[in-house]
């Protein structure tokens, strides 16, 4: 493998790693999946503040 290809592969791997970490850490999948449900099947969102 040429140096150029090695750099491209490393860059692609890095992008995939960061994207995967972003999707795992920053996306709230419970919300993302819930919002795709039909209205009558969606879970309620319940708001609260950190006080009794």
């Amino acid at each position: 493998m040429t140096t150029g290809k090695r750099i491209a592969a490393a860059a692609a791997g890095w992008v995939a790693l960061v994207s995967g970490a972003h999707l795992a850490l920053n996306v709230d999948w419970s919300v993302a999946l819930n919002d795709r449900q039909p209205l009558d099947k969606r879970k309620f969102y319940v708001a609260y503040i950190p006080v009794t």
């Binding site: 319940v46 503040i49 006080v51 009794t52």
Partner: protein, 293 residues
Amino acid sequence: MTDYIARHSLGENSFIPRKFQGFPEIKEALIGNRMQAGFMVAPMAMALRAQGVPIKIVYLGHRSGSAVVVQKDGPIRGVRDLAGRTVAIPSRFSDEYLIVRRALKREGVPAEAVRFLEMAPPDVVGALAAGAIDAFSMGEPFPSQSEMMGFGRILFPAQRYWPDYMSCVLVVREDAIDRRPAAVQTLVDGIARSGLWLDEGKPHREHAADFVGRYYFNQPPELLRWALTKDLQRVIYTRLSPRKADFDLVRDLMLEAGTLDRPVQFEEYVDVRFAEGTVGLTPWDFEAGGRTR
């Protein structure tokens, strides 16, 4: 709490909890249907309903749980000393505002003698420590936090001037009630069972302080442990059905304070069906790391 227990023992959750930093933001989220349900202070819910916002109060979040706090070594030793002082409240549409007015009236001090300042709950402890305010009226755990940090002193708990005091209530959008009554009942049942579980004793409260502090409130568990166990009567999680007499009192105090422009009727803003559905429920049978029935 209901969310945690259902998720970690039943392996399911029937709703998605979303944390906010203040009641006005919850109000906007409910109006915009970004939230279908939420906990907010009772007067705000009543005022919203009076203004035509399609929500109903279906259950209480707790009883007691609020206090007026002053600087530990400051000059305020009694309610009368609040005259001429600045008191932080979460909102003029809150029971924390009404309880100060009620205490002042009992002690013969006109409410106009006190300067009320609306402040987001998480900010009041720092403001008191810095001397930016002379007192605050707020729900737990902020009174406990000021005590733990050594500079706050509870001037009076809400229940001293208002037995059976209530503050946060569960409101649900009317379209959600009409379309999904079974889901609303599941939510109310979960809160009722969580309340019964919490009021079973200190070990349950200690356990709740741990997981609520870590996963929901983002607050130190030892702070919540202080708030929930120092005195088990500081916050009460049973007798949460909405009662007309309690709300009539809030309504009358709001009319007196000028935060409600007409005497709304109990049936107009409360739906008691779901609270009635909780009769006979038992506490969660939940142990740390165990299964629940």
